[in-house]
């Protein structure tokens, strides 16, 4: 085992510029998916894109840290509007497709998906 700390997926992908490129790909996928797009409609598309960039940064192990409490509070209004496992699965699917489209290696994709999965209970308020 190496002495230096293992690089995060975020760093391996290229940090902030990689997130900036990934967020548009990801945002297009969720907006084009009628099953979940209503959770992502926002008059201010820049603000919505910024939220999604923070999400991508978090699940790739970058410098954004939400506590479980933050995740619960942030998604509570959406849970009230009916957010459930099927929506979570759809978003996770788009996340996976985005990473694959950008050529991220399978083991790194798997790591990201594990982090994303770990947020499920908090996101759905369980």
């Amino acid at each position: 085992m190496s002495v230096t700390a293992e690089k995060s997926v975020y760093e391996q992908l290229g940090g902030e510029p990689a997130m900036a490129a990934a967020v548009e790909v990801f945002y297009r996928k969720v907006l084009a998916d009628d099953h979940i797009s209503h959770f992502f409609e926002d008059v201010d598309m820049e603000r919505q894109a910024a939220k999604q960039k923070a999400f991508l940064t978090m699940v790739t192990g970058g410098p954004v840290h939400y506590s479980g409490k933050d995740m619960r509070a942030g998604h509570a209004p959406l849970v009230k509007r009916g957010l459930n496992d099927s929506h979570f699965d759809a978003v996770a699917g788009h996340l996976k497709a985005t990473l694959e489209e950008l050529g991220v290696a399978a083991p790194l994709v798997a790591k990201v998906m594990t982090i994303a999965e770990s947020a499920r209970a908090d996101v759905l308020g369980r």
């Binding site: 548009e24 297009r28 907006l31 084009a32 008059v43 598309m45 820049e46 894109a49």
Partner: protein, 332 residues
């Protein structure tokens, strides 16, 4: 309870109330129009006390640093004490140079300011009448031209548009505040295709942006889609056709929902755009006019591959007449 001092009096704010609503409610006259944090007509300055960050969104850094804020977006927390003044210091006196109808529903207003106004074609200003009535309008002129040009849509019962159409005369004096907005052309990448689309007087900023891009030597295709419900809603058609003849890279496409002809396409704006510009990947775009239409077009163009950083929008908001909340649709 938060309270605000204006001139020599203190005014209490109800919980969650904006500074603008509190002052208007208590009989203080403050220029305002959209009441949604966009038009900047209600700009004020805090001389003591701190305003919430949300009240300074969209303002230039130089204005923020001087304590300027938008009264309609300023909801100070309980216990705040603010001392405020108007933004008179930022207003430039101007006089009406000319008034002429561009169509049955659009009035061209030309203004000459007493001192030069630095702006980009496509930005907007607030027009403030002597009695404080304010409305925001986009600039259709270019900075080097001798007058500011506004396209004012004549609203039934519209306070500012009615006055401009029926009472105002060349030579009348007004004040101009601004400019604001980030819907303008920035030189660079001269071969990049540009897509401009708007409805009604959304043409005003686009007319400025097109001519600005051409003057800057833009060589890539510049598409301009102007939509209206019927052909009567289109204007500047002969000027734009002449411009297209002079500049082969400029492509003018008027469209209407009903009453199309050989020269005017018929159909929804997004359908007309998709037919002629099916793959706008890597383009730059400006969308101006009717709010819901601009937002829906932006989403469609984003999904078609345009990057958010290349999408500039100016969604016109209705002005809110004083004393009531009914819509007076489309100030600009």
């Amino acid at each position: 309870m938060a309270k605000v001092k204006h001139e020599s009096d203190w005014y209490p704010l109800e919980s969650g109330e904006s500074v603008l609503d509190a002052l208007l409610r208590q009989g203080v006259s403050i220029p305002n129009a959209c009441r949604a944090g966009a038009c900047q007509s209600c700009l004020m300055r805090a001389v003591a006390g701190t305003v919430p960050e949300a009240a300074q969104v969209g303002l230039k850094d130089t204005l923020r640093a001087q304590g300027y804020f938008l009264a309609c977006a300023c909801r100070p927390p309980e216990g705040t004490q603010l001392e405020v003044t108007g933004a008179e210091a930022l207003r430039i006196p101007a006089r009406i140079q000319a008034l002429s109808l561009l169509s049955t529903s659009v009035l061209r207003v030309r203004l000459v300011t007493d001192s030069p106004l630095a702006y980009h074609a496509g930005q907007y200003i607030s027009l403030v009448r002597e009695d404080g009535l304010a409305r925001s309008y986009s600039l259709a002129s270019l900075p080097h031209e001798d007058a500011l040009e506004l396209h004012v849509r004549l609203q039934p019962g519209g306070a500012m548009s009615g006055w401009l159409a029926h009472d105002a005369q060349p030579g009348d004096r007004l004040q101009v505040q601004g400019p604001a907005g980030s819907c303008f052309y920035v030189p660079g990448r001269p071969e990049q295709p540009l897509l401009l689309a708007g409805t009604g007087t959304g043409l005003a900023p686009l007319y400025g942006i097109v001519r600005d891009a051409l003057a800057a030597g833009h060589t890539g295709p510049i598409w301009l889609f102007h939509g209206a419900r019927t052909p009567e809603g289109l204007y500047l058609t002969s000027e734009l056709r002449a411009l297209a003849e002079q500049h082969p890279q400029f492509l003018y496409r008027p469209g209407v929902l009903e009453g199309g002809s050989r020269d005017v396409a018929e159909g929804a704006l997004d359908v007309l755009i998709r037919a002629e510009c099916p793959k706008p990947l890597g383009w730059r775009a400006w969308l101006c006019g009717d709010g819901p239409l601009v937002l829906s077009l932006r989403k469609k163009l984003f999904l078609a591959g345009l990057s958010l950083k290349d999408l500039h929008t100016d969604a016109f908001l209705p002005s809110v007449p004083s004393g009531q909340r009914t819509s007076d649709a489309g100030a600009r």
